[in-house]
Amino acid sequence: MAHMTMIEAIQNALDISMGRDEKVVVFGEDVGYFGGVFRCTAGLQKKYGKSRCFDTPISELGIVGAAVGMAAYGLKPCVEIQFADYVYPAYDQIVSEAARLRYRSAGGFTCPLVVRMPAGGGIYGGQTHSQSPEALFTHVAGLKTVVPSTPSDAKGLLTAAIEDPDPVIFLEPKRIYNGPFDGHHDRPIVPWKKHQGGQVEEGYYKIPLGQAAIRRPGKALTVLAYGTMVHVALAAVEEAGVDAEVIDLRTLMPLDAKTIMQSVKKTGRCVIVHEATQTSGFGAELAAQVQAECFYHLEAPVTRVAGWDTPYPHSQEWDYFPGPARIIRAITGVMESVQ
């Protein structure tokens, strides 16, 4: 075991994967010599050479499009989009190409490709350094979508993503790159050192895609969250003093519906928390599934706490962020519901 930040854990997963398999190549904007604006690829170019880790022109389309070709050749590209907010120029290559290559060629060509990108707000990044576009990927058949919430998970899930035979969207919640975050931006920052999830197994390991983790067992209600919001939800639950079961989805697609439904059937109540804009966010899919599967167990409407349906503003960031106060209000509302 070692202490790692999420950045170090990601770098470590890349390092180990590149060391084990020379088909793994890593590239993106500022990813080579400099090691990435968040330092997730630090040292890799030096260690593995310029043709396995390199800087690219500023073209997200080019990065993903070239990666699709490389994956079709037989390499395993793991590329970085500098911010999730800048993935849209590559959106066509992701949804029309990477996602459907296996299907349209009936397995003749495949696309084992990972697109890593820092996502989420809470760093005063304004509307173009704060977005959480996961629902734009979960709607696309052929993609897998992963959002880790701890360094330990980030390493294991990224390793699994790189080894996955299909394209994986890997969203890294940048607000918790350096430490967990309970949603109280006015409190001192906590480093990963002080958090169980910052204890990272050394060497190679994987966490299978498609398995949620119960972060806090409980009986009174189920809270579904992922990424940064897992920590915010956990804090909110404590503050609310409710015996909630908090589930960290980890992988949105494929979804661990079993763990979710088991929990909601047990608790009869469900709150969903995410940072992305509410309308057509991934919470909509979760709510739709939960009410369909657990209809006869539900004692209150499934309730979403999400980013407002506005762009992510700069100075009003903490009014936008679905923080503890809003989560507690939702929990209280759901607990008070009586039929």
Binding site: P57, Y73, E97
Partner: protein, 410 residues
Amino acid sequence: MDEHAPLSLTVPEPEVRPGGEPDFSSVKIPRAGAIRRPEVDEDPENMRDLAFGIIRVLNRDGEAVGPWAGTLSDDELRQGLEHMMTLRTYDARMMNAQRQGKTSFYMQHLGEEAVSCAFQRVLRPGDMNFPTYRQAGLLIASDYPLTTMMNQVYSNEADPLRGRQLPIMYSSKEHGFFSISGNLATQFIQAVGWAMASAISHDDKIAAAWIGDGSTAESDFHAALVFASTYKAPVVLNIVNNQWAISTFQGIARGGSGTFAARGHGFGIPALRVDGNDFLAVHAAGKWAAERARRNLGPTIVEYVTYRAGGHSTSDDPSAYRPKQESDAWPLGDPVLRLKAHLIARGLWSEERHTQLEAEVLDRVIASQKEAEAIGTLHTGRRPSARDMFEDVYAEMPPHLVAQRHQAGY
């Protein structure tokens, strides 16, 4: 300050529209043999002229002349003729099959057969094409079975793509033919990535990217040029300028630049412009470009000047936007007739043998068609199961798809 007249928008227009007299007098056509052939490692800056001429080998008398002549043996030339004739016959049969309702859609190559048939001969096993929908000649020239092609067009049970893809969207890794996408241009940057992967792996395989004149306006074209230029990817960047993009003439995509080949100049990528209806010229240019790639000298752009003699697809009627006789007026002639004339001029061929080969090709295509139709067509016979629909979305079927498959009754 000076006064200026009000601004106004320029919208390029083709010289003639339906009702007018076809006129290609503005297309400057150098005589065969006139364009020089530089060494493959010459500085791209010194080859600028090649993007503005048209490399031609076959002259009016059917002779192969000039520095680009002589890249093919007699046998290869005869084989090339056969490939083009096969493609043309195949197209005609499939156009008809579509009209008969045996499939939903088809796209033919009429007039452009030389481009893909000749280019395929410069590739080696393991090289990879990233084609558009108008390069089936690559498959035919690499002996991909006609019946398999038809199975795909018919979406029948033997369709290697299991009915999932629109007709003519073939895919065959073994034949160096990347899965065709319905989304234009996306393959262009993928080809560059594939070539980069070959270089990263210290392999000796090269990639060939394909794009239409109209599609060069897409973003993927730019990404491909940027990446190919920066990483010197071993790739041939083929632009098939068949003068039209559905109803839109090539001047809309080309704008103020003289040619599509010239697009390479902003990237330091050497660019050739070739008579796309001249089998020998296509082969010679392709070979030169492939040699550059193999010698790690980087990418080459090749623009094939040709003409889409038929409709864009079975959904299109070109008489709505261009004169009906425009195709006959096209000054570069017909690729099949030109190669035939060359072979005859050289005493390697005769009208009789040609007629005989035509019959043979037709027999072969019909036999394949019977075989394919015996399996099934879009609406009849043995067809892929709806069960297939749920396969290959992922390598392993996730639980929600298993559930949906069950819901669908499978």
